[in-house]
């Protein structure tokens, strides 16, 4: 049976692009989420858009569940396939089709790696701002399907703010076009809006049209150190209240500071309770003004120390500490569960307080860092998945983290998506009506339920 299946796909994508050995199947059974793997029947790697369309059509005809996989770095189980399904690899669909400087847009295939794309854009004097921490490996298709965000989300928005249009395959292998290369376009329904964040459940992306912007002319970074958590979050609120929108406004708790310092010796104050990393950018004069104002606000509210980067080297140092956060935490224990519960930014102190209590209650180590400016925190639970007793406590703690986030008016996911990891919480946030609506929508577009089944809404 599986031999027969391989043959069918080999006819479409060629012999070397069907991966069906035991080893290959195990290699496409997991992603970056801490969830049990599930074995697909095979993985296929189309090299042309036409082949991609035919693969989708064939899966539908055979009623085979299909999961598209970019780089498999999502943290919510979005690329864990259905048992016995087909994994479609986008790695060979990796062309940057166009970068248009005059009209400031680009067209890419879905397997293009984010950082490579951003670098190509930068070479032409333009800027593609979304910068997920995984950008060195994540793909544009994965970014759009997860609506990925990054450090610059506060000022520049997330992936959805840059998707101008796309083409995608529906389950019958028909190519659907939506949006355009123009800044304004209201032709037809906003289907590309629907595709952003759809996690591979509504269609398989082919080409994506992305908005580009001019890069900021100047930037200034600083690090503010606090001996009190309340003061740090008050500072966040005060900066925004002063009508300053920094490009980045990052937070680190005391545990993370200590761990980063132990690991990277970045010169962080290990007795601090919290740390804010702030960068303003834009026109040079405005940057000077805003940096001074931010510094004044930090001082007024009670930062014990402020370190303003004098040049690119010092700026890099500030960011090195932030970049080291996950690395440092990940080394403490074997398993790292990175969550992304998000709350309105005024609720950060409440959220952080709750996280401390949860850590205590379940006897767990949790380090928290993240995007304070947009309320997107990354409580990072350090554990060992082999310790079943402890891991059960981890799961209970995660349940509680989401309960708290929702009770504070927050959301389940700021950027990592729902996938399989959080589908069971969905109803708590959006209610039964929304789930039913989404399910009816999916049933209409994908009657055999082959497109990444089990993700977002469960079934």
């Amino acid at each position: 049976m599986s031999n027969h299946l391989s043959q069918k796909f080999e006819e479409i994508v060629g012999t070397g692009n069907v991966l069906a050995s035991e080893v290959d199947r195990h290699n496409y059974a997991y992603d970056a989420a801490v969830l049990p793997p599930q074995l697909p029947a095979l993985a296929v790697r189309p090299e042309t858009p036409e082949a991609l369309g035919r693969v989708v059509k064939t899966c539908n005809e055979l009623g085979l569940p299909l999961t598209v996989r970019g780089s498999g770095t999502n943290l919510s189980g979005g690329t864990i396939p259905s048992e016995g399904g087909v994994v479609v690899l986008t790695g060979a669909l990796n062309k940057i089709i166009e970068i248009n400087e005059a009209d400031m847009y680009a067209v890419v295939q879905t397997g293009v790696v984010t950082a490579k794309f951003a670098a190509e854009v930068a070479k032409r004097g333009l800027f593609y701002p979304p910068d997920p921490g995984s950008q060195a490996v994540s793909t544009m298709g994965g970014n759009v399907a997860e609506n990925a965000g990054g450090l610059r989300g506060l000022k520049y928005g997330v992936t959805k703010d840059y998707v101008m249009g796309m083409s995608f395959y529906d389950v019958d292998g028909e190519l659907v076009k939506t949006g355009s290369r123009t800044v304004k376009c209201v032709t037809g329904m906003n289907l590309h809006g629907l595709m952003v964040g759809s996690e591979g459940t509504l269609g398989v992306f082919n080409e994506i049209i992305l908005k580009l912007v001019p890069p900021p002319k100047a930037s200034k970074a600083m690090m503010a150190i606090f001996d009190d958590l309340g003061k740090a979050s008050e500072t966040v609120a005060a900066i925004i209240a002063a009508k300053i929108v920094p490009a980045t406004l990052e937070y680190m708790d005391d545990f993370t500071i200590k761990t980063v310092e132990d690991f990277a010796h970045a010169g962080l104050p290990t007795d601090a309770k919290a740390l804010l990393l702030i960068e303003v950018d834009g026109h040079p004069a405005q940057v000077e003004d805003e940096a001074a104002e931010v510094e004044a606000i930090c001082k007024r509210i009670g930062a014990t120390r402020i370190q303003v980067a004098k040049d690119a080297v010092e700026r890099n140092k500030v960011w090195e500490a932030r970049r080291a956060a996950l690395s440092a935490l990940a080394r403490v224990r074997p398993t790292t569960v990175l969550e992304d519960a998000t709350v309105p930014r005024s609720k950060i102190p409440a959220m952080v307080g709750a996280l401390e209590k949860i850590a205590e209650k379940y006897k767990l180590t949790i380090g928290t860092f993240g995007h304070a400016g947009d309320g997107n925190l990354h409580p990072t639970i350090l554990t060992d998945k082999r310790d079943h007793a402890e891991f059960t406590r981890v799961e209970a703690a995660i349940d509680e983290i989401f309960d708290v986030a929702l009770s504070l008016g927050g959301t389940l996911s700021g950027e990592h998506g729902i996938g399989m990891a959080k589908s069971k919480y969905m109803v708590k946030e959006v209610g039964q009506g929304s789930i039913m609506y989404a399910k009816r929508l999916k049933a209409a577009m994908d009657p055999k339920n082959i497109l990444n089944p089990g993700k977002i809404t469960g079934a």
């Binding site: 035991e22 080893v23 770095t73 490996v137």
Partner: protein
């Protein structure tokens, strides 16, 4: 099936190292093999996942796992870039040893490792004889590079343009020596390594010349054995341990300050892998191995850091020679040495260093990887070649003779006429008496 049990048991030993991988996938950004094939099984995350599956007995196909594991350059890029601090190289070396224990060594490797490597004298003799006859089987193709290609054995070496065995290996042109500390007050033990000895004796001669010039005493025994990495990376731990023991006998008791090698691979093997794999050796040997491995240094690092060589005062006439430098993975990624070789090149005012794109990306050699996966190795090497040629340099320099072989092959096949040099050769040119 009981052997399978044993294999599973062995894999369980490295369970703690395996679980440290959080499957983030960041290793995809740096793995040269993954860059070519895009296959999950060819990147660290994929291999580690497979080893876990094997240990958990959910995979029944150790051969398939071994095949993926073998498709690895052991370049350490993944380890250097891993946020979680996964010791990928330790994992891969140990796992290869386990799997080789399970399958046994292929006969050819068995003959070479157990028959030749373990008997350095015999090894020298056999290759000595071979060097006399190689002209019958190969024809020179590129005078500048000094490469040849096979006339007869093309099946065996697959169209490679390889550097021929030297007419006379280093151990023939330079007698063993044990010279006292001179005005530098320093004394080295010189571990020349197989490839320098047999293919690039001129590098060894340059080392000796530089040491003599700077008053560095040299202990250079000829009884030294291979560093063991070819055997270990093929999973032959037994041969590896024998080779370490042979070397310990020669070096452990001697008097010197630094163990110097002109080979990035030997340096990193002695520094990192000897102590790592010495865990099972008797306590005294383990201690000796640690002592020795603490003393090992790359020749450029030694000359810059310890001897303190400075730019030579030689007359410069005409245009400087443009040279570009390739960072061997084993030197930069494993040991963090990248400034010193460049500084050493900079000590010859006749040369101008022109950096290439991706100077520290792997050249695709990876020891026996290139033998088993020549096609892949060539694709990776081709990128390196293109980057080298794009600099307009007439000399490509690097600190690892294995990289020199690979880069030489790539340049030669493309018909380029660059010379390939070791930084120490470039520096040695400035010394009097040339």
């Amino acid at each position: 099936m009981s052997e399978m049990r044993q294999l599973v048991g062995l894999l369980k030993q490295i369970d703690d190292q395996l679980v440290a991988c959080m499957r983030c996938g960041m290793c995809q950004a740096v793995c040269p093999i993954y860059a070519e094939t895009g296959l999950e099984g060819h990147v660290a995350r994929g291999k580690i996942a497979l080893l876990e599956c094997l240990a958990d007995e959910v995979i029944k196909d150790p051969a398939g796992v071994k095949e993926r594991l073998d498709a690895c350059l052991l370049c350490g890029s993944c380890q250097a870039n891993c946020p979680s601090g996964v010791k990928a190289l330790d994992i891969f070396l140990k796992a290869r040893a386990f799997l080789t224990g399970y399958y046994g060594l292929p006969p050819v490797k068995r003959a070479i490792f157990r028959g030749l490597l373990q008997n350095p004298k015999l090894f020298d003799t056999v290759l000595g004889v071979a060097s006399k006859f190689q002209g019958l089987f190969t024809k020179p193709v590129n005078d500048m590079l000094g490469s040849s290609c096979a006339r007869v054995f093309s099946d065996l070496i697959g169209g490679r343009h390889f550097a021929p065995l030297a007419d006379k290996p280093l151990h023939d042109v330079a007698t063993q020596r044990d010279t006292p500390r001179g005005h530098s007050g320093l004394k080295i033990a010189f571990f020349y390594g197989c490839v320098v000895d047999k293919m690039f004796p001129r590098i060894g001669e340059a080392v000796l010349k530089v040491c003599d010039h700077h008053g560095v005493g040299v202990f250079m025994p000829h009884a030294q054995a291979c560093c063991g990495i070819p055997a270990l990376s093929s999973g032959d731990r037994e041969t590896f341990e024998k080779l370490v023991a042979l070397n310990m006998k020669v070096f452990a008791e001697s008097d010197f300050d630094v163990l110097v090698t002109p080979c990035a691979t030997c340096t990193s093997t002695i520094k990192k892998i000897w102590p790592l794999m010495a865990e099972d050796l008797p306590a005294t040997t383990r201690y000796q191995v640690k002592e020795l491995s603490a003393k090992v240094k790359d020749i450029s690092a030694f000359l810059i850091q310890d001897v303190g060589v400075t730019p030579a005062d030689v007359a410069v006439s005409g245009e400087p020679v443009t040279v570009t430098y390739h960072d061997p993975c084993h030197l930069k990624k494993s040991l963090g040495v990248s400034a010193e070789p460049r500084a050493l090149i900079g000590c010859n005012p006749r040369y101008k260093l022109q950096e290439m794109d991706g100077a520290d990306s792997c050249c695709g050699s990876g020891g026996s990887f290139t033998l088993q996966h020549y096609d892949l190795s060539k694709r990776i090497g081709k990128r390196k070649r293109d980057n080298i040629v794009a600099t307009g340099a007439t000399v490509a320099a690097t600190s690892c003779p294995a990289c020199m072989l690979q880069i030489g092959d790539m340049l030669s096949q493309a018909g380029d006429t660059l010379a390939i040099r070791h930084p120490v050769e470039i520096y040695a040119e400035t010394l009097a008496g040339r």
